[in-house]
Assembly symmetry: C2
Homo-oligomer: 447 residues x 2
C-alpha cells in the first residue's frame, strides 16, 4: 500500500490526492449530431414562450443588447483580433479582412442598428383582416412569428447582431451559424446578446449560436425540419448551392443580383446619366448595383460617349457590344460571358438594343430577377416594363441601388430575398412573420 | 440471296418489304432525366407569357376546360375503367377504389368546380399597397404569379382538374404529377384540359402533365430548382417524407391534422355536444376532423356520458383516459399512442384535464398545429386560447371542420398548408401568388 502507484494508474490504490472533478466520470464529448439536436430542441422549446412575449420586454431586451455591445467593445475587439490574425495568416486578404474588422465605430453602428429596431412597430399580433361569414362566424388573420429561423452567413460579424435583433423583435428564435473566419467575433457578439436578452426576460435559447464550425454541423442543422421552420442563407454562391441541395427545411435565398438599367429612346439623358452612375458606382459590391446597361439605338450616339467617359472617370471598366465600341472606342469589347455576370466590382457590361422588346428579352435571359430599371419618359412603355419584367423590384426612373428595406421604408431588413415564395425583395420584420386564422364562433358547425 | 433471312435478322439482306417508318432511324427513347428537363424548360418558357395573360382569356380558357370535361365524359370514364381494373386486381381495395372512381356526377362536379373558379376575382395585378417616400418616389407592391408550380398528389383524379384550374387562374404554370393508380384517368383529364386551354389562347406547356409514373421521374422533378418555383405535395405520410427529403425546390406541405377540441369548464354543454359530434362525425377522413377531445374535469361528469353515447350511436369508437373510462364505462382505455394519432376514421381519443393549461400543454405536445378549438363562454380564457395556441386555425365555439377555404370565404382552395411560411391554413388563389415591388421614380438615386 505504501509503494507509489505508477503515474498512469488511477485505481483506488493510488495515494495521490484526487480532485473532486476527477471523481465524476468524464462525459464523452457530444458528437456533432448530438450537439445540433440539443441546440434545435432547446430552440424549439424557447419558441412557444418567445411568441407570446410582450413588446415591452422585447424592446427592453433589445436596448440591453445594444448597451451590452458597447459596454463590451474591448472584449469584442480582442476576439475580433484573433479572427483577423488567423485570416491574414491564412489568406492574406485585404478587402475581405476589412469586412471582417470590428472598430469602435462599427460596434457603435451595430448597437445603433439594434436601437433602430426598438423603434419599429412589433409585427406580432397585428390583425391583418377580419370578416364575417354568412353563418355569423368571424374569421380573421393574425400575424404570428414563423418560429425557429436558422441563419447561415459569412464574413461580416454585424450580421450576427442584425439577425438576432430582427428575429427577437419579430418573436422568432434564431439559430445563428456564421462563417469560421469570424468565429471568435461572432461567438463574442452572440454571447453578449444572449446574456443581455436573458437578463431582460427573454427565454433561454431564444438567441442560439452555433459555436462549432465543422461543415458536418451545418449539414446536420439543415436536416432538422421537425424543429427549424426556415433557413435564410446569406452569402456566396457555394453557400447557396449547399443550402439548396442539403436543406429539408424551407429556404429563403438572398442570392445574387444581375441588375440592368435600360435607357429608352425617350429617356431624359441627364437623368439617365445621374441614375446610371449612381447605380454602378455608389457601392459596386452590393447585389442591387447595376451590372449591365442597355441603351436604345436611337439615343446611343447621344448618350454613350458621355456616360462612358463619366463612368471611366469614376474607375469603371466598360465592356461593350460591337456598336458600343464603335461609338465609344475607349470601351473594351464584351464577351458573351460578360452578360449575366455579377461583377460586384467597377465593371459594366453595355449593349445597344433595337427597342424595348429586345431589352426585355435580354433581361429575361441574363437577369436574375433581382432589380431591373427603365429610364424613360414614355408613359406606355414605362407601364409595360413595370408589368412585364419579372424581378423582386422593377423601377421607372430610379437607381437600382434603391431596392433596399430602408430605402423602401420597411425599416431594417434581413436581406433581399430572391426566392419567389413568402417574401420577395427586401425582407423586413413583417416578412419574418406568418399568419394564423382565428375564428370567433357561436356554435357554428359544418353543414 | 433466295434463302429466307432468319426471323431475328433485320439486315439489309432481308427480302422482306421494309415499311417507310423503318427507314427513319428510330430516335432513342428519352431517359427519365431528359424527359423531365424537357418538361420543366417548356413550363418555364410558358410562365412568362402566362403571367401577363388577361383575365378574360384565362376565364374563357377555364370555361372551355369545364365544357371539355363534360363533352369528353365517356372517354374519361373509359380511361378511369382501366385504372379501376388495375387497382382492384392489384389491391382489391374498396374505399380507395371509390375515391378513384369517376362517374357522370363526379365529372360534372369537376367541371362545376372549374366554373366556380371563373367567378373568383383574378389575384394577379392587384396592387396591395402603395406609399410615397420622403424623396418623392412611389413604392408599391403588386401581386404576381409564383411562376412554375409542381403538384405531386395521390389517388383522387379531381385533384388534376382543381389544381390546373387554380394555377391557371392565378397565372401559374402547373406541372401535375398524379399517382400511378390514377394514371389513365389523370392523363385523360389533363389532356382534355390542356387542349381546351391552348385553343382558348393559353400558351402551350402551361398545363403540363407528367405521364411517366417512374419514381425516378418524380425525384428528377424535385431537383429542378432552376425551373420550378414551388412544390405542393398532397397525399400521405410517405409522399410528404420523400418530397421533404429530396426537394431542392421550396415545398408547401399539406400534411396531417391532429385536431383537438377542448371543452372548458364554462362551456355551453349543448353547444359543445353539437360541435364535437360535427367535428368528429361529419367527415372523419379529412385533415380537419377532430381526433382528440379534451374535457375540463369540472364538467366531465355532466358532459362525458351524453357525448360518449351520442358519438357511439354515430359509430365512433371512444378511447378514453382512466377518468373518462370511469365516468363512461363503455369507453375503451386509450393507450399513449392514441394521443397524437391521426385516425382519419370514426375513432376518438378522449382525455379529462385539470384546466386549460393542461389542455394547451397537451395540444402543444400532441397536436400538429393544424386546427384547434376551445368551447367556452369565458372571455379571458377564450382570448388566451386564441393567442397562445399555435395552429393554422384556432377557433372559439366552432367545429374544426370549418377550417376550409370555402368555409372561410376564400373561394376554392388547393389544400390546407401546414408549412409556416408563405401560406398557412387554407390556400386559395391569393396564396398561389407572390408580390413584386414597383417603383415610380423621377430621377431618385441612393445618397
Amino acid at each position: 500500500m505504501d509503494t507509489p502507484a505508477p503515474l498512469t494508474d488511477t485505481s483506488d490504490a493510488s495515494l495521490e490526492p484526487v480532485s473532486p472533478e476527477a471523481l465524476v466520470p468524464e462525459a464523452p464529448p457530444k458528437t456533432n449530431q448530438e450537439y445540433v439536436e440539443e441546440l434545435v430542441k432547446k430552440a424549439r422549446a424557447a419558441a412557444g414562450k418567445l411568441a407570446s412575449l410582450s413588446t415591452t420586454i422585447k424592446d427592453q431586451a433589445l436596448t440591453a443588447m445594444a448597451d451590452g455591445l458597447e459596454a463590451k467593445a474591448d472584449d469584442l475587439m480582442a476576439a475580433n483580433e484573433k479572427d483577423l490574425e488567423a485570416f491574414e495568416q491564412a489568406k492574406g486578404g485585404t478587402a475581405m479582412a476589412d469586412r471582417l474588422k470590428l472598430t469602435p465605430t462599427r460596434i457603435k453602428d451595430m448597437a445603433d442598428g439594434i436601437r433602430q429596431i426598438v423603434k419599429l412597430p412589433d409585427p406580432v399580433g397585428e390583425s391583418l383582416k377580419m370578416w364575417q361569414r354568412p353563418n355569423g362566424m368571424l374569421v380573421g388573420r393574425v400575424r404570428v412569428p414563423i418560429g425557429v429561423i436558422g441563419i447561415i452567413y459569412e464574413s461580416r460579424p454585424n450580421v450576427t447582431a442584425d439577425s438576432a435583433a430582427l428575429c427577437l423583435k419579430s418573436g422568432n428564435v434564431c439559430i445563428l451559424r456564421g462563417g469560421s473566419e469570424a468565429i471568435h467575433s461572432n461567438t463574442a457578439i452572440a454571447s453578449v446578446l444572449s446574456e443581455a436578452a436573458e437578463k431582460a426576460g427573454v427565454p433561454p435559447g431564444a438567441i442560439a449560436f452555433v459555436d462549432r464550425t465543422d461543415r458536418e454541423v451545418a449539414l446536420a442543422l439543415l436536416k432538422q425540419d421537425k424543429y427549424v421552420d426556415l433557413i435564410i442563407p446569406r452569402g456566396g454562391e457555394s453557400l447557396m448551392k449547399t443550402v439548396t441541395e442539403e436543406s429539408r427545411i424551407p429556404v429563403i435565398k438572398h442570392d445574387k443580383g444581375i441588375c440592368h438599367t435600360y435607357v429608352d429612346a425617350d429617356a431624359d439623358l441627364a437623368m439617365a446619366r445621374t441614375i446610371c452612375v449612381n447605380a454602378k458606382v455608389q457601392r459596386p459590391s452590393t447585389c442591387n448595383a447595376m451590372e449591365a446597361l442597355l441603351v436604345h439605338e436611337k439615343i446611343a450616339k447621344a448618350f454613350l460617349p458621355d456616360i462612358v467617359k463619366e463612368l471611366q472617370a469614376a474607375g469603371v471598366e466598360i465592356r461593350g457590344c460591337a456598336k458600343t465600341c464603335q461609338i465609344s472606342p475607349d470601351a473594351k469589347p464584351a464577351t458573351e460571358e460578360d452578360y449575366g455576370k455579377e461583377f460586384l466590382a467597377l465593371i459594366l457590361a453595355v449593349k445597344v438594343v433595337k427597342n424595348m422588346d429586345e431589352a426585355m428579352e435580354h433581361i429575361a435571359r441574363y437577369g436574375s430577377c433581382h432589380t431591373e430599371a427603365i429610364i424613360t419618359n414614355d408613359y406606355g412603355r414605362s407601364l409595360r416594363f413595370l408589368r412585364e419584367v419579372d424581378a423582386s423590384a422593377v423601377m421607372i426612373n430610379a437607381s437600382t441601388r434603391l431596392n433596399d428595406g430602408y430605402q423602401f421604408g420597411l425599416g431594417a431588413e434581413i436581406g433581399i430575398s430572391t426566392t419567389r415564395i413568402h417574401a420577395r425583395g427586401p425582407m423586413g420584420l413583417e416578412e419574418l412573420t406568418c399568419s394564423k386564422f382565428v375564428v370567433y364562433g357561436s356554435g357554428q358547425i359544418r353543414e
